[in-house]
Amino acid sequence: MQFFFEVLIGGLLSGVLYSLVALGFVLIYKASGVFNFAQGAMVFFAALTFVGFQEVLPGWLGLEPGSAVVFWLAFVLALASMVVLGLLTERVVLRPLVNQPHITLFMATIGLTFLVEGIAQGIWGANVRGLDLGIVDEPIEWLMDRSGILVSKFDLFAAAAAGVLVTSLALFFQYTRIGRALRAVADDHQAALSIGIPLQHIWGIVWGVAGFVALVAGMIWGARNGVQFALTFTALKALPVLILGGFTSVPGAIVGGLIIGASEKLAEVYIGPMVGGGIESWFPYMLALAFLLVRPEGLFGERHIDRV
Amino acid sequence: MSAVMTAEAPVAEGRRIGEVILDLQGISLSFGGVKALTNISFNVREHEIRSIIGPNGAGKSSMLNVINGVYHPQEGQIHFHGSRRQKMDPHQAAAQGIARTFQNIALFKGMSVLDNIMTGRSLKMKCGLLRHALYWGPAQREEIAHRRKVEEIIDFLEIQSIRKTPVGRLPYGLQKRVELGRALAAEPSMLLLDEPMAGMNVEEKQDMCRFILDVNDQFGTTIVLIEHDMGVVMDISDRVVVLDYGKKIGDGTPDEVKNNPDVIAAYLGASH
């Protein structure tokens, strides 16, 4: 039983990371109807840019490697890069494709995936790098002593970060003018126009926010597994998360991420050995597929009626 | 009440309006609590032109969607050719000889006029995948036989000069005509037309009117028509049913409907 909980909690915590990536998808999908396949690549780009700046800044500015200044400066620069990347994407890729079929936009973001990955590695190189957030990946003693369950401090931190992020996003959407405009856009583009904020500004902001979310996700993930190309594949796991949670639901992204994270770990541990292991690679997709057949609109998605 | 009316329905020379072939009883339809149609009953006789009119949002298109199986009403019964119709899909309705056009043109944008109309003959084509892949032989013979039929429709609708044009490039009025052609290609016994003349100029409307009358006359096709142009409706319909807010408020010959106080109220109310 203890083992089960350990696996469950570990899974839930890695699910938090899926949630963070999925969150970026949801934001963009809500605002512009674009299914941004490149969100995973953007996470990779963000993490690589952050690490890259951490490496080069001390040399450029004569700072102490590993200092807080370097950390925050790299964070700000990486964030700025993400915003620029987001704005450029919006301007160069999506705006010319406005009013095109969704499938075309989707394929364009696949192209974007390649482009972003290529650029990131072209600038920073393709080596695997470590990323240190200063949090030690060791079990929380208090919890281990009381219940015997191993929970990593790092995972807890990641969960907390995700929680903060989601809460602040929720507040942002709920209480700011731009947030309200964003929600209006998701419902009806015409209505959004009447609020008085140009659609393009809104999309710009959304891509900026999505960049920020990608950066946070990338840093946490990078700190855990190292910054490397494989990150983009792991990020693909966000897709089944979306199917579970629905494309338009922020809570859906969170819950979906947790379900996927937990179930893939449990499946790996309990079913894996029966079939030779490694089922993590496909289990989330099959789960999502099975789920689709039952409830195509996702857990929190809105049911759609085709009017003829 | 409707029996009295049909007795007086105009009978065109040579065209005999026959028995009731479609009977709708107490049809109600709602979408997640929103009532689109409430307890609607009416019937359609063989060979007649039956119009459905009413203000916007009266439920006219929903009515057509019920008839050809796109929507499944929660309540009510549909009898088609005497037998009770179970819940069925549009393609089953098509197999029973019901074809239709749509309010917003629903052509296959990536295909030519010819191919669009050819799809209308899908139900009549029997060759399978392998024969299609081999082409030469049965598949080619079938294609040619149906092409010949489709060409007759193209000739009938006078769209020879655009037969190989992709439909996306055509002006609106011609697209409507092509859509009618696609419906006709199925050689339907009943044709549902959803605002076939919307957005057309006078000349195009005249043409479309002529085609509808010719179809009804030459092929004996029963026609259920939704149309906003009252002049056209009153001119070509045998009987008219009037809907408002999903309820039936009038049913009868054009003259009767014109003098029905409820209908007048609905239309005056709608126009203000």
Partner: protein, 355 residues
């Protein structure tokens, strides 16, 4: 300019419905076929045949498969490589386990195996569309590769699933040289491309396009969308499967499941985007483009920049160029090279008029 169409009138529907109704196109087609069928195998070097022409043909076939599904039936798939894998391992196992099974029969059986698997993974398409379906096909991609790796039965107990294709023998003739393999590949691909063209110009193809363009209208005129979609999945997977089998038998000889990864699926998708969605010829153009571009980059980049940029740069540049091209084509010419070809042809037909 080259066309002389006056006087080419059609007195029968069979003449009017030819694949190439214009005489000059027919000539062009036979000339191209003669060049690639006769001249190329006589003149091309082994490198060109083995490393370029054979893979171009094989990927063309896979691209035709994906194009049937995506371009004609409108169902996006990210799992083409997995279906190729099924074809490759299917053909291998059929030959392994059935004594004396003729190669071509094994090829078809491999394709049919892929078709069966394709239908299975196409089932969700009955309820879902667009991105949802794309994600569903990812499941196929990962699951199939995993199965082939994890169950050694499929690779005759070879380590990590690597298989070595048996000799290709048809009617006693051994296809072992690059020439022979090229000619065989060309023959299979040409025949299947013709069949695909036939499918898309008859009722089957029209039902796919109808479902793609307006599924409600398609259903209303009596097409069953479910049937049309599953058929598209089956045919598409069949083509990918045969391509996969050729990939093993006439191209690489030795393949492993991991070779049929997501990246390959993406590459096939890129072929149809760049070549032309909804065009058989576009599949060939796209395949040639995607196969040749990296070779071109490998040769051109060092020539311009020298070796200073390092080996990693070339692969990154390839990513950037592919990604950029995809976006460029989707924005500027969503119907790809095939459309450009067609525009050029229209220009020639109307020359000297612009339109």
């Amino acid at each position: 300019m080259l066309y002389r169409e006056a006087g080419q009138f059609k007195t029968s529907y069979s003449a009017d419905q030819q694949i190439f109704p214009i005489l000059q196109d027919r000539y062009g087609y036979w000339v191209i076929l003669a060049i690639f069928g006769v001249l190329v195998p006589m003149l091309a070097s082994a490198y060109w045949l083995k490393a370029i022409l054979i893979p171009v043909l094989i990927f063309s076939l896979a691209a035709i498969g994906l194009n049937i599904l995506t371009g004609y039936a409108g169902q996006l798939s990210l799992g083409s490589a997995a279906f190729m894998a099924v074809g490759a391992f299917g053909a291998y196992n059929f030959r392994l386990r059935i004594d004396g099974l003729p190669f071509l029969v094994a090829l078809i059986l491999g394709g049919l195996a892929a078709a069966a698997v394709g239908v299975l993974f196409g089932l969700p398409s009955l309820r879902i569309k667009g991105f949802y379906l794309a994600v569903a096909t990812l499941a196929a991609q990962f699951f199939i590769v995993w199965v082939l790796v994890k169950f050694p039965w499929f690779s005759n107990n070879a380590s990590s699933g690597v298989i070595t294709a048996q000799d290709v023998v048809i009617l006693g003739y051994h296809f072992d040289g690059p020439q022979a393999k090229y000619v065989l590949t060309l023959a299979v691909v040409a025949a299947l491309a013709l069949a695909a063209k036939n499918l898309v110009r008859t009722a089957t193809g029209r039902s796919w396009m109808a479902v793609r363009d307006m599924d409600v209208a398609a259903e209303v005129i009596g097409i069953r969308p479910m049937r049309a979609k599953l058929l598209a999945f089956a045919v598409s997977s069949f083509y990918c499967g045969v391509a996969g089998a050729l990939y093993a038998y006439t191209y690489l000889g030795t393949v492993e499941p991991e070779g049929f990864n997501l990246d390959l699926s993406f590459r096939i998708l890129f072929m149809i985007i760049i070549g032309g969605v909804g065009s058989i010829m576009g599949s060939f153009l796209g395949s040639a483009f995607i196969v040749l571009l990296p070779i071109l980059l490998d040769n051109v980049v060092p020539a311009i920049f020298g070796n200073a940029l390092g080996a990693g740069f070339a692969s990154n540049l390839q990513l950037i160029v592919f990604g950029g091209l995809i976006i460029f084509f989707l924005i500027v010419e969503p119907h790809g090279l095939a459309r450009l070809w067609q525009i050029g042809k229209e220009k020639l037909r109307l020359w000297p008029f612009p339109h």
